[in-house]
Subunit: 373 residues, 2 copies
């Protein structure tokens, strides 16, 4: 959200009468996802919103990708993210993304590879989107300390996976056996005739939000990765459609079944990543139009927050603190009357670590006991 | 910077058109050097600015004094700061500062004492300023857990150094042998006929700014102690003159050779220590006149900060948070239009730990990668 002199941010530019109105009875400020100057990825950004210290909780990309496509990752599994790719007859990579084939074409190849067993380890292979796929190794004695097989460039062969430790040698052996067989199976299926794996990782053990907060939480999110993160925190993942209106409908239908909802809007982040200032403004304005729908449900606590800033000016996530608004009957409103970066600067919350949001939400919902005598 | 009702601080009193102008395109706030209510010395104050946790990093005064006079303190050395003093024939201290003799007179005596060896330990003795000196013990098996020989009052004898632990007994023995010989050597050299040592300490091991930030950092500072602190953080120490204009010239000449500069202004702190409100105002105004010179160099990030407050009203360092201004093209400016305590209160940074300044600087210079997926 960098603002050049005289320029406004996307949130400042957007017409947001409903959020502005809500800000008058809310307490506002900023949240800091991971620390001063730290630009977080979506995983630490969301973990922080859910109350987990993002600097202490590391989740590998393989696990995230698998969770994202609703693959049931179990303790002890090793997960990886992968690409279908193109190799020539000599095994040299000519296209790391196999011409970005369709998800359907991808799924057809995954079915050929899925479910084989090597040294007693089952290998599960599922399509994600376009050329992307998720792989899970399941069985005894696995260890994720192994190297990627993706060299991250073309013109070279795919790599053998190597073990970082003795404990992981059996795992790298299985990966290499699987990939040798995969090459035989995919021969003739050009352009997607091989696959590259990276980000081998296992499930971290997080205490769930049920355990920590005694909540019955649900997630409404259109994109796989956010569903994966929510699942890790113990949320039920609700089926929903691709639009904000679908998400709001899902919220309305499930409202009496849960006491916590994480409702994720992807569009503003995507537009920011694309450097599309106007589209980001439009998404924010669309979100604003749904605010009254949410308030009609009369939530005890309603929070507008983000996992990180994604200024269109930077075309990427950034380190800037994220505007934050918390409404409850007991929030002690400040003098902020507009939901924007400039206005939030004068908010009573100040800049708080994002991990402080869940405790504040719980307190405002009268779900926390007094600490100490 | 305490301000009685209706009164202005030094910074609020000073005419600072250049800093005020810069504040409009900067993000402002305060930094807290060591914690709420904690008045830091210059060492923790600077360590904090350089990104080191000042509560976890302790640097003894002996080491600081030695570094301050460009003495090369090596790992394993034990350093102390000392005073030349006056003792009578019975060995009773009559003046702890030897009549504040000149640095030249001091140097003459240090030369008599410097370079002797006791039990295989070499003792290096160098003058600092007036009656002050620095002592380094160098050799195998040293340990700085020993007591001062300075009783901090007159009318008593100098103290024997005692070991706090068994490991430090050899060290205290060397110190006492050295001081017994020193008394013999300095006999007849009144008023400086003995010395008092305190603050025995060894070099902490800090990861350097090169290691932490991959920077090539340089320090421009007129006073020895700040050069010493900068050296500890891994900065190159640039030769410069006594005036602000000298420092700016040094900055200009070296600007292409480094990607980080610490430029230290001593005058405002000294004036504050002296309780000289008007002189402090004048120093701030002088600094302000050089701001355009610095901006002409087009730094990606430019920060105005202090290691602590030194209000003339208190004639000492204080616990008050220190006004902070960070300029970069991507800082997301707030509504602050004057660089002063009152105005910074409304800055978007709020009050941040001073250890957050370096990560913010790095982020604004695009020198940090994203954290997590």
């Amino acid at each position: 959200m960098p603002k050049y002199p005289g320029e406004k941010t996307e949130l400042e530019t957007a017409s947001t009468p409903n959020m502005d109105s809500l800000s008058k009875t809310s307490i506002c400020g900023f949240s800091l996802p991971a620390g001063y100057g730290i630009t977080p990825g979506s995983a630490p950004g969301h973990l922080s919103l859910f109350g987990y210290d993002p600097m202490e909780t590391y989740i590998g990309r393989g696990v995230l990708e698998a969770l994202g496509v609703e693959l049931n990752v179990e303790p002890g599994d090793v997960a990886a993210r992968g690409n279908l790719c193109t190799v020539d007859d000599a095994g040299i990579i000519t296209d790391r993304r196999a011409g970005r084939i369709s998800t359907e074409e991808n799924a057809r190849r995954c079915r050929l590879l899925d479910g084989k067993t090597f040294d007693g380890i089952k290998v599960i292979v599922k399509p994600v989107k376009d050329h992307r796929l998720a792989v899970i190794l399941r069985g005894e004695g696995l260890d994720s300390s192994v190297t990627d097989t993706d060299p991250q460039k073309t013109g070279v062969e795919t790599l053998e996976s190597k073990a970082h430790t003795g404990k992981a040698e059996a795992t790298s052996r299985v990966i290499n056996k699987f990939l040798h067989q995969a090459r035989d199976i995919l021969k003739g299926h050009e352009p997607a005739n091989m696959l590259l794996l990276r980000g081998f990782s296992s499930l971290p053990t997080l205490p769930t939000m049920q355990e920590i907060y005694k909540l019955t939480p649900a997630a409404i999110a259109g994109y796989p990765m956010y569903r994966g993160l929510a699942k890790l925190a113990g949320m039920d993942i609700l089926s929903t459609g691709p639009d904000i209106s679908d998400e709001i409908n899902t919220l309305r239908q499930s409202y009496r079944d849960y006491d916590f909802f994480f409702l994720h809007i992807k569009g503003a982040d995507s537009a920011g990543e694309d450097g599309d200032f106007n589209r980001k403004v439009a998404v924010i304005e669309e979100v604003d139009r749904f605010i009254p729908e949410i308030l009609k449900l009369e939530p005890d606590v309603f929070i507008v927050a983000g996992d990180h800033s994604t200024p269109a000016a930077l075309k990427s996530h950034s380190w800037h603190p994220v505007p934050l608004m918390l409404y409850s009957k007991y929030c002690r409103p400040d003098n902020v009357a507009t939901f924007s970066e400039s206005a939030c600067t004068l908010g009573a919350l100040g800049t708080i670590p994002a991990t402080g949001i869940m405790p504040l939400a719980m307190a405002n919902a009268f779900k926390l006991n007094k600490y100490g005598a």
